[in-house]
């Protein structure tokens, strides 16, 4: 491929071992999902906390980031 010619294969490090990625992927992937849930969906169709505080606080962000809001 033309792209690889500009960046010789010899200088490309090999793939990062799956064993190194997996623990991070599980941990950070889960955190990312939880974070996105609280920004995008908490106190909408489902709620972990009662009330509307979280929903109201991120209200504008939720609308502008395209999540379904109230």
């Amino acid at each position: 491929m033309a792209e690889t010619a500009a960046f010789p294969a010899a200088s490309l490090p090999g793939p990062i071992p799956v064993g190194e990625i997996l623990p991070w992927a599980v941990f950070a992937g889960l955190l990312a999902l939880i974070a996105l849930y609280f920004i995008g969906a908490e106190q909408g169709a489902t709620a972990v906390f009662s009330g509307m505080g979280v929903h109201e606080f991120v209200h504008d962000g939720r609308h502008l980031l395209g999540f379904p809001c109230h």
Partner: protein
């Protein structure tokens, strides 16, 4: 190396979130303010909105009086920043998985393509079927179905894109990269089109009396805010990834 990549992905995500916040303040908030004013005037589907306070869910919880200033300020900043950091982290993880496996491209090119794919699969395509709605559009009674269909559309879109990439990979050896990727992209387009046909259409705009011009500007701003996030991630994390991998390579050889 994974920890390094993840940290940098999230740091670039903070930058993406901050820039998206600035963009949203200028291009998105005017439409939100107009919609909230309409919501207050008409009472639409929501409870009363007090002057200066967006208390549209007063019926559910009278105590959650968070001011418009908070919503448009620190609330919006929290939203865009958490969004940026979370997606920056995910981008770093996916990059670590595909670099040197699916992709023989140099790191910044891989990152740029991943960010483009992320924008298309997570923002553009789901948004074609279920576009962003401003306040005052959408009845609280339908939040269940709207949430379910939105996230289902998102999952189908990501799944179809992964399938498209797998098809392209499979065909590359026999038919060349050009043909293989055209077929892969075509498969993605056909799959999401079929899913969109089968998923229910939710139209809560028609009949709501919401001004069409404001709606268009709101949706355009919403799309652009997320384009800002993905552009910053695609360029910024590309630079970071090149550095991390170059350093890793140096250490491996030493």
């Amino acid at each position: 190396m994974m920890g390094q990549l993840l940290l940098r992905g999230m740091l670039v995500g903070i930058l993406a979130g901050l820039l998206a916040f600035g963009f949203a303040r200028v291009f998105g908030e005017p439409q939100v303010a107009r919609a909230v004013a309409l919501e207050g005037e008409g009472g639409h589907h929501h409870g009363e909105a007090e002057a200066g306070e967006h208390d549209h869910d007063a019926a559910h919880d009278p105590g959650a009086g968070i001011s418009r200033g908070t919503q448009a300020g620190i609330g919006l900043l929290t939203g865009t920043t958490v969004y940026g950091v979370a997606l920056g982290g995910v981008l770093a993880l996916v990059f670590a998985g595909v670099q040197g496996r699916l992709s023989a491209l140099r790191p910044r090119a891989t990152v740029a393509l991943l960010a483009l794919g992320g924008f298309v699969a997570l923002v553009l395509v789901p948004g074609l079927k279920y576009p962003a709605n401003p306040p005052a559009v959408g009845s609280p009674e339908t939040i269940g179905i709207r949430t379910a269909t939105f996230f289902m559309m998102l999952l189908f879109s990501v799944g179809a894109m992964i399938l498209g990439v797998m098809i392209a990979r499979h065909l590359t050896a026999a038919h060349g990269a050009w043909t293989a990727w055209l077929v892969g992209i075509g498969a993605y387009v056909v799959l999401v089109a079929l899913v969109m046909l089968m998923m229910p259409t939710l139209d809560e705009v028609s009949g709501s009396g919401f001004p069409a011009g404001t709606l268009w500007e709101f949706r355009l701003a919403s799309l652009a805010i997320r384009a800002v996030v993905w552009a910053v991630l695609g360029i910024g994390f590309g630079i970071a990834a090149e550095r991390v991998l170059a350093r890793g390579n140096h250490q491996a050889r030493a």
